[in-house]
């Protein structure tokens, strides 16, 4: 069937193009070809993903990729996206898949929250001259300390040198190179990366043990006792912000031999994670899985439970804490994904800002806030978001999309195709090689260090020199352009109040 869609992007090539064919080589979607008869480069706009790979790599800077200017007659009810989705589905009869976090214009609360700074009544602190501390502990904390028996009641914790961790991205969804880069960067920055549900390649285990969080998801890929013990913590993934209530699907094409071995499944088969864990149909079942994992790991590792931010998130979180989780990770609706049905990604869940604040408050009201730590993820875009998340009650944040962007991702949303031209979201050996592990790791380390510096500057301005004094400190936040109910949920005052 001939597609009736307009191309999404228009490619223009200036006269400076000397037909080196670099773009042809770089484009993983087969857009550019060389026509020898005319000695000309030809581009097929229809196939372009807008990943900008060719534009960046063209030695002459001859290529420009722009959203196509052609349009359907403007219609407030029938936007271009709605029209094209219908045409696409009429052509395929299938669910529309997409990658990355939702790109819909839901209110981004971070941008409606302002930070405080000291003036006169207390001094701001200069982070260049004074110590400024970001060390963070994640895990269950006892209510009090017994000096005679310091061991008693101290559960295992994760120690982070900066309050940011890389969120779960599985080997299989991302390339081996990207996976390694995350592991290296986490260990150099004194923080953690998360294996996601694809298992942990055996050869990486001993080197990165101290900086790995191993994940257990509904597909149970690659899980055995050795795997569970190959990291510093175990995360049970119940849900993901981009697709709450939905399982995962890694297409067979991405299941290479090594991916298959790590996941403990046959090569080339689809790796399908069911929507729920079929041994968790209630909170008691979660409690049993947590206990089982603690038993297998000899009570030496904190257990994280990751859930998507949904409507009753605070009650759910309270249940999770009572079920024995040491850390709860909440993933907001703008969280990324390798592949998700577009309808789910763009319509299910709630923003992380609201979720983290109401969870923190609920746990405080119940007096169990210190029994677990909170990691907020799904929509953290910059250091200010980190500061705001912590002031709203998070202990630390997960960053996923930002880490991918640091490695080169341009959010073209084609991760599910396995053709990532930046070598991040692919198992194609040729594409994968494009991502230099050492360089990608360095970019990640740089990002964390840049954000850490900025966090220190913001803390110093508030007159705070240790990150623990920011946690839940809503005093340092004011809302702007928000409704009363939104301020209430966030638990902050309006600007000027």
């Amino acid at each position: 069937m001939r597609s009736l869609l307009l191309p999404e992007f228009t490619i223009s090539r200036s006269d400076s193009c000397d037909r080196c064919r670099a773009c042809e080589h770089q484009c993983s979607f087969g857009v550019h070809t060389y026509d020898a008869s005319q000695d000309m480069m030809i581009s097929d706009n229809y196939r372009c993903a807008g990943c900008q790979r060719c534009a960046v790599f063209c030695p002459k800077g001859a290529i420009e990729i722009r959203p196509t200017p052609s349009f359907y007659r403007p219609n407030a009810s029938w936007s271009r996206e709605r029209i094209e989705d219908i045409k696409r589905q009429a052509e395929t009869g299938g669910v529309i898949l997409t990658g990355c976090g939702s790109d819909k214009p839901f209110r981004i609360y971070w941008d409606h929250i302002l930070l405080n700074a000291s003036q006169v009544t207390n001094p701001s602190i200069d982070p260049l001259r004074e110590p400024m501390e970001l060390r963070t502990f994640l895990g269950s904390k006892p209510e009090s300390l017994s000096l005679s028996d310091m061991e008693a009641g101290t559960d295992p914790v994760l120690t982070l040198e900066t309050p940011m961790l890389f969120s779960a991205m599985s080997y299989g969804a991302i390339s081996y190179n990207a996976f390694q880069a995350l592991a290296i960067a986490a260990s150099r920055s004194g923080t953690f990366f998360n294996t996601g549900e694809g298992g942990m390649p055996a050869e990486m285990r001993s080197q990165f043990k101290e900086h790995t969080i191993v994940q257990v998801a509904s597909g149970r890929f690659g899980i055995d006792a050795e795997y569970l013990n190959s990291g510093a913590a175990v995360e049970i993934k119940i849900g993901q912000g981009a697709k709450p209530g939905i399982g995962g699907h890694l297409p067979g094409e991405k299941v290479s031999q090594h991916v298959a071995a790590t996941r403990m499944i046959p090569e080339g088969t689809d790796a399908i994670s069911p929507a729920p864990h079929h041994d968790i149909y209630s909170i008691e079942d979660l409690e049993m899985l947590i206990s089982a994992i603690k038993e297998v790991t000899n009570y030496e590792k904190p257990v994280i439970v990751k859930v998507a931010a949904v409507h009753n998130i605070s009650a759910i979180a309270s249940g999770i804490v009572r079920a024995g989780a040491d850390i709860i990770a909440i993933d907001g609706m703008r969280g990324g994904t390798g592949a998700a049905p577009k309808a789910i990604r763009d319509n299910v869940g709630i923003p992380i800002e609201l979720a983290v604040s109401s969870v923190d408050r609920r746990l405080r009201d119940e007096g169990i806030r210190e029994r677990c730590s909170i990691i907020a993820g799904g929509g953290i875009r910059c250091s200010a978001d980190v500061v705001k998340a912590i002031a709203l009650g998070a202990d630390a944040v997960y960053i996923g999309t930002a880490a991918l962007i640091a490695m080169g991702c341009t959010l073209c949303q084609r991760c599910y195709t396995g053709r990532c031209s930046w070598g991040i979201c692919t198992q194609d050996p040729g594409l994968m090689r494009r991502l230099n592990v050492e360089e990608a790791a360095q970019r990640l380390v740089n990002l964390l260090s840049a954000w850490s510096h900025e966090i220190k500057e913001m803390l110093g301005g508030m007159g705070i020199n240790a990150i623990e004094s920011l946690r839940g400190n809503r005093d340092q936040l004011r809302g702007i352009g928000l409704h009363e109910w939104e301020l209430d949920v966030l638990g902050i005052k309006g600007a000027g109040e």
């Binding site: 705070i464 240790a466 004094s469 809503r474």
Partner: protein, 378 residues
């Protein structure tokens, strides 16, 4: 603003003068010199709050809790508050003596409330029978302060008392005739410079819970964090001041969790990780555990504080020492002050004077040697 949010994190901001004097041998002295010392720091306050805590002043009632109450509002409101508070007190305590707190009409103060004191011991009923006395008293105090309109218990320890109000500290001192009527072995004092003008007698400092009192100069940037932690553990921060938060933290750690002051100081003002990481294993583990568990009680931002309890006085500044604190000794006398000049005024020659380092507590105990005398540089 919705009521729910209005209650969230409103905080008074103020700066101050603080002063403490203690006789280590337990010699009792009047408040006369303390008032003079405070008058010397007149400019550090703005007349919107002054107060004193004095220890050892009620030896004849030393077995009994001494409650100081203020009843505010117009004459009728005061009478009604007194009636309601007394009804509650007489039901829950054996009151052995009560009287108006004496004051001098020669000193002009603005809108003084009706001030009354009660000497009493717990009379527990029902489930309360199993509570320790101190816990019982704390709960009753919290009840009066939160549930009875216009009645406020501002002092509740044994053989000690707080005196405070709206005015310069020297005016408040003379109003209560602290220079004539009372002799104590330990005095602390506070002059206040709030940045809002809604002066209220109960809002003056010191703030006390049982026999722990706090005078404080600073603005704690971690207030929001400290407060949620304490509220989670059952404290109600109704006064919205940093001082209240420090007092509750001390109560939680020392009375409820039985930690020694040295450890408490390391919780409120811990050393930096750089310092901790260089310590030997035992110390490093202790301090790491303290920060891990008690991170939310770290008092961040500038403060200098004098904490007093029966038999001891403690001076402490924030971890990077952003507010002044001077410590001095002369014979058995021990002084802590915002300014050295005030100490020199009442004790021109001193045996030693020093400024403690940030986060280093200075602890002075009765009948004992100054624990941190050693900390004094030569």
């Amino acid at each position: 603003m919705s009521v729910r949010r209005q209650k969230l994190y409103s905080k008074e901001i103020c700066a101050c003068s603080i002063f403490g004097a203690m006789s280590r041998t337990g010699e009792r002295f009047t408040g006369e010199r303390v008032i003079r010392a405070m008058a010397n720091m007149h400019h550090r306050g703005n007349g919107l709050g002054g107060g004193f805590a004095a220890y050892g002043i009620y030896p004849e009632f030393r077995e009994y809790y001494a409650f100081h109450l203020m009843f505010t509002g117009d004459a009728r409101a005061q009478r009604e508050a007194k009636r309601a508070a007394e009804e509650f007190l007489f039901r829950n305590f054996d009151v052995v003596h009560d009287e108006e707190i004496p004051h001098s009409d020669d000193v002009y103060v603005r809108d003084p409330p009706l001030l009354w004191r009660y000497f009493l011991s717990p009379s527990k009923h029902g489930e309360d029978i199993h509570l320790p006395d101190d816990e019982y008293v704390v709960r009753k105090v919290v009840h009066v302060n939160s549930a009875i309109d216009n009645a406020y218990i501002f002092s509740s320890g044994k053989n000690m008392g707080c005196f405070k109000g709206v005015g310069y500290p020297e005016e408040i001192g003379r109003y209560f005739m602290l220079d004539r009527l009372y002799r104590g072995y330990l005095w602390t004092a506070h002059g206040r410079f709030p940045t809002n003008s809604q002066a209220w007698w109960g809002g003056a400092h010191p703030f006390g819970l049982l026999d722990t009192t706090v005078v404080h100069n600073g603005e704690i940037s971690s207030y929001g964090t400290n407060r949620w932690y304490l509220e989670m553990l059952g404290y109600k921060c109704t006064l919205h001041t940093d001082t209240e938060v420090v007092a509750y933290a001390v109560d939680l750690l020392m009375r409820r969790q039985d930690l020694p002051m040295e450890v408490v100081a390391k919780i409120l003002a811990p050393p930096t990780w750089e310092t901790i990481d260089r310590m030997d294993v035992r110390e490093r583990e202790l301090l790491t555990t303290l920060r891990r568990i008690y991170g939310p009680l770290l008092m961040n931002g500038p403060f200098a504080v004098i904490i007093a309890q029966s038999g001891r006085m403690i001076g402490l500044t924030d971890r990077i020492r952003l507010r002044p604190l001077t410590v001095a000794t002369r014979g058995e006398m021990f002084y802590i002050s915002s300014e050295e000049a005030s100490v020199r005024l009442i004790s021109p020659s001193l045996d030693s004077v020093w400024s403690p380092r940030g986060g280093e507590p200075v602890i002075c105990e009765l009948d004992g040697r100054l624990k941190h005398e050693i900390a004094a540089p030569a």
